[in-house]
């Protein structure tokens, strides 16, 4: 291998160079800006995580799995996974191997960072070695891998269903330019390398192509235009990158370490939120996932459009999209990047100014708490349980059967858990409610707090500070009572389909416990989409602006998903899901507590104890 061009430079590299310098400086500027926007505490935490070996290893692993291999996409659909990882990993390998070539053959050129990209133009092959052939083989191989990905990407644009996607996001103008550049880059590279293959050498792809081209294009004059075209397309791609969805490539590499450092979104538009927004690859997986997409009018209210409008700064649409969402969290669960759609929305809601501010100063949490003091176990039903009284009744009946010394602390008035205020974006008010409720709960003197509403449970987990009190959802609590032998249950042959409530499943990661508990008393059958992909019932308090008709469509769609199981009845563990479903369901909808209570009896020893 020798330098074909003594100066090591040709003007055709300029477009690429310009694009590269532009995108690098944009990214450096962006990184500095985002780091400055982070609150001091978060910034320190982030820096610390970058020197903690454990997180560093996790970062590297996550970046490889998520950005290069697209493991999550493989799990969703193999074709989709192959398409993305072939382009990402193939391209990555082309860059790495390009550098290896330069280091191996022309180490003095490594300072020129365009050299690995245009290596084949600048070199002439003098003798063939095993090393060289292997490298050239690998280069051609990965080029082929990328090209196969590009072909699939083209197919996907016309037949997205093959890739498991019913709907995809409509590309914006910059996304389209970026897309066509990306499609053009690799065929042009193949052409360019093929035209030079008789000089620079090549492998199974470029050498035969070179031979074919030389049969009818007999001179070397075609070489330079294709290298120019390749460089220009690369340059254009780099220039549009910051303004297109392809910004997700650098942004995700920032998102992963930030998330692993435990950062949370604290400002709707700055810092971590900005990274999240730029990390959205606009793939549109969230469109099919979004329960609102059963309404044609709501398709553009999905997270992919939220991130797009946030980048455009379209305030009217940002408000609309933020308010509409049910905050079911499914978009985040299916997103390969994990963009926190609900979190971004809540903080955007929080930007609003309300003229009227509620005043909670007159509420004396401690006094209310003292009034219901006495039990070691406190049961907190929450507002929604009051509205679906069968649940409270079943939970307390189970506690009584098990001989638990408990008090229903909000039976006759209590304080809201604060989650509705929180999801409405009224964070300060929610905080105030939470503090009052903490006082109340501490004053009861209980050591265990049993909660039956997943909406409350999530709030307790995420926003409450009750260090000496164990907060537990009734499902694992009752499981423990059965395991300890305090409750005896009988099995029945009725078949139930279990609906994962958003707040219990995606919100608190309780997927298996409710299933285990239910299968101790009845037969279980799974809905078409379940666990993390469960479909929101449509009744969520999260949405501020969905109409009843729109919600009804969503509830019916969610029910269809459950009917798919052919079960006799529907089980859930959330009062809001139950109230919503029972309006339209053609079969009974019951809470797990109710079902277990029907099948449970007290252990005789408990009775003696009482």
């Amino acid at each position: 291998m020798i330098d074909r061009i003594p100066s090591g430079f040709h003007p055709f590299v300029l477009p690429f160079l310009a694009g590269m310098i532009f995108v690098l400086s944009y990214c450096v500027y962006g990184i500095i800006k985002i780091l400055v926007q982070l609150p001091g505490e978060d910034r320190r935490r982030f820096y610390l995580s970058l020197v903690t070996p454990k997180t560093v290893l996790k970062n590297i692993r996550d970046i490889f799995c998520d950005c290069l291999f697209h493991v999550k996409l493989w799990k969703r659909n193999r074709l989709l996974g192959y398409m993305h990882s072939s382009i990402a990993f193939g391209w990555f390998m082309l860059i790495v191997l390009g550098h290896v070539e330069v280091i191996l053959f022309l180490p003095h050129r490594i300072r020129l960072f365009y050299y690995p990209i245009f290596f084949n133009y600048f070199v002439a092959e003098t003798d063939s070695t095993i090393q060289g052939s292997l490298l050239f083989f690998l280069m051609d191989f990965f080029l082929l891998v990328v090209l196969s990905g590009i072909v699939l990407a083209m197919v996907k644009r016309v037949r997205s269903r093959l890739f498991g996607m019913r709907r995809t996001a409509r590309p914006s103008l910059t996304n389209q330019i970026g897309l066509y550049c990306l499609w053009a880059i690799f065929p042009l590279r193949l052409l360019a390398e093929s035209f030079t293959a008789h000089i620079s050498g090549g492998s199974f792809l470029t050498v035969p192509a070179n031979w074919v081209f030389r049969q009818f294009l007999g001179n070397d004059l075609n070489m330079l235009p294709t290298w120019w075209a390749y460089s220009i397309v690369l340059g254009v791609f780099m220039v549009v990158l910051p303004f297109s969805r392809y910004m997700h490539i650098p942004a995700e590499m920032m998102l992963i370490p930030m998330r692993n450092a435990g950062l949370k979104i604290r400002n709707a538009r700055k810092g971590f939120a900005r990274v999240q927004v730029y990390s959205c690859p606009n793939c549109g997986v969230c469109i099919d996932a979004c329960p609102m997409s059963v309404n044609k009018a709501n398709i553009k209210d999905c997270t992919v459009y939220l991130t797009r409008q946030l980048r455009r700064g379209n305030e009217r649409r940002i408000t609309e999209i933020s308010d509409k969402c049910l905050l079911c969290g499914k978009c985040q669960a299916v997103c390969q990047v994990g963009v926190d759609g609900p979190g971004i929305r809540i903080l955007n809601r929080a930007e609003r100014n309300y003229a009227l501010k509620p005043d909670y100063s007159s509420i004396d949490g401690t006094a209310i708490g003292r009034a219901s003091a006495g039990g070691r176990v406190a049961y907190y039903g929450g507002c929604m349980t009051q509205l679906v009284p069968s649940i409270g009744r079943s939970v307390t009946s189970l506690l009584e059967k098990a001989g638990i010394d408990y008090r229903w602390i909000d039976r006759d008035g209590g304080i809201c858990c604060g989650r509705p205020m929180w999801t409405a974006g009224r964070l300060k008010e929610a905080e105030e409610i939470v503090r009052k409720n903490e006082e109340l709960i501490r004053a009861t003197g209980a050591v265990t707090l049993v909660v039956s509403c997943p909406i409350c449970y999530r709030m307790f987990r995420e926003s409450y500070h009750l260090p000496d009190i164990e907060v537990v959802h009734y499902v694992p609590y009752i499981q423990a009572l059965i395991a300890e032998g305090k409750l005896q249950v009988e099995h029945d042959d009725i078949c139930y389909a279990y609906h994962d409530p958003c707040e219990l499943g995606r919100g608190c990661q309780l997927y298996e416990e409710p299933r285990q508990l239910l299968s101790q008393v009845v037969r279980l059958s799974e809905a078409e989409k379940n666990r993390a992909e469960s479909v929101c019932c449509g009744g969520s308090l999260g949405s501020l602006s969905l109409s009843f008709a729109q919600r009804e469509n969503m509830t019916r769609a969610a029910l269809e998903n459950l009917y798919h199981s052919k079960a006799d009845a529907i089980a859930t563990a959330c009062p809001l899901c139950q109230a919503t479903f029972s309006r339209y369901a053609d079969r009974p909808v019951r809470d797990i507590a109710e079902i277990v209570d029907l099948h449970a009896k007290a252990n005789k020893q408990n009775k003696q104890a009482i």
Partner: protein, 337 residues
Amino acid sequence: MKENVVIIGGGIAGMEAARQLLLLGYTPIIVEKKDHLGGHVARWHKLFPDMAPAGDLVRRLSEAISEANIFLETRITSINRLSNGYVVMLSNGVSIPCRAVLGASGFRLFDASKKEEYGYGVYNHVITNSDLEAWFNGAEDPRIVADPKAVGFVHCVGSRDLKAGNSQCSKVCCMTAVKQAIELKERFPDARIYCFYMDLRLFGKKYEDFYINAQQEYGIQFIRGRVSEVGETAEERLQVKAEDTLSGKPLKVQLDLLVLMSGMVCNPEVAEFARTIRLDVDSDGFLKSLDNVGGINRSNQPGFFYAGACTGTKTVPETLAEARAAALDIHRYLLGK
């Protein structure tokens, strides 16, 4: 030979229409899915505003149609359209060719257990307006205690309620609640009686008199505001939380009985059936009249007529009047005029 007219539904609409059709010289054939005639009214105790026994009305109508063909506990399996009429197939295997069909399939009472916050089917002392009428009629009901100290009526349960899937007013429940409150007060003079309402729609003859009387003579308390939730105390009394929107204050009251004024809703089975013979269904789920002023009795299909609550909520006198009108309309149609 006398000409057949099939009447779907043996409630008061179907019965009154059958009576008129008999007088006009036709053979009405009533198809009723239950084992008795009279529909919802047969379960009712007294009818406002004259407080006449509902049983008398049903009895009079039954006697008047003794010559009609009546199929009880029979359902319609299908209706086929012919060029100038219909063939109605019944579940007992009978098929009836006829030129005119009268739809008098009525309404369904809203299932109060769907408004879970009121605890119907959960708490021991929550009943519906229909349950209360049955009890007035002498049926046993363990939910009604021997000596209630306080009773509440909740208006608009499942009517004018988008969340419950019915945005329409059920029309009769305001007046029914006033009537039932008075009747309960007559039986339990010491009980305090509360009516929780959104607004009172007392449009008919003498309705307003009842309302004034209920307050002045019987001391029934009308509270404007919806009930937010119902709970149960340790003594199994009901604890009702509501807002008095006139005074702007939340209130809590303990009751021994809560009566839910379940509204009239469409029968979804009927709507499904209607689609099979291309009858139009309205946005509220009830059958759609040709027009709502001059053509309430008529459907969009020739030879298919309506009477009573199958096209929307109706009072008893309205239903009877419509049934008579429908009979005349059918007569006119069969004469080809």
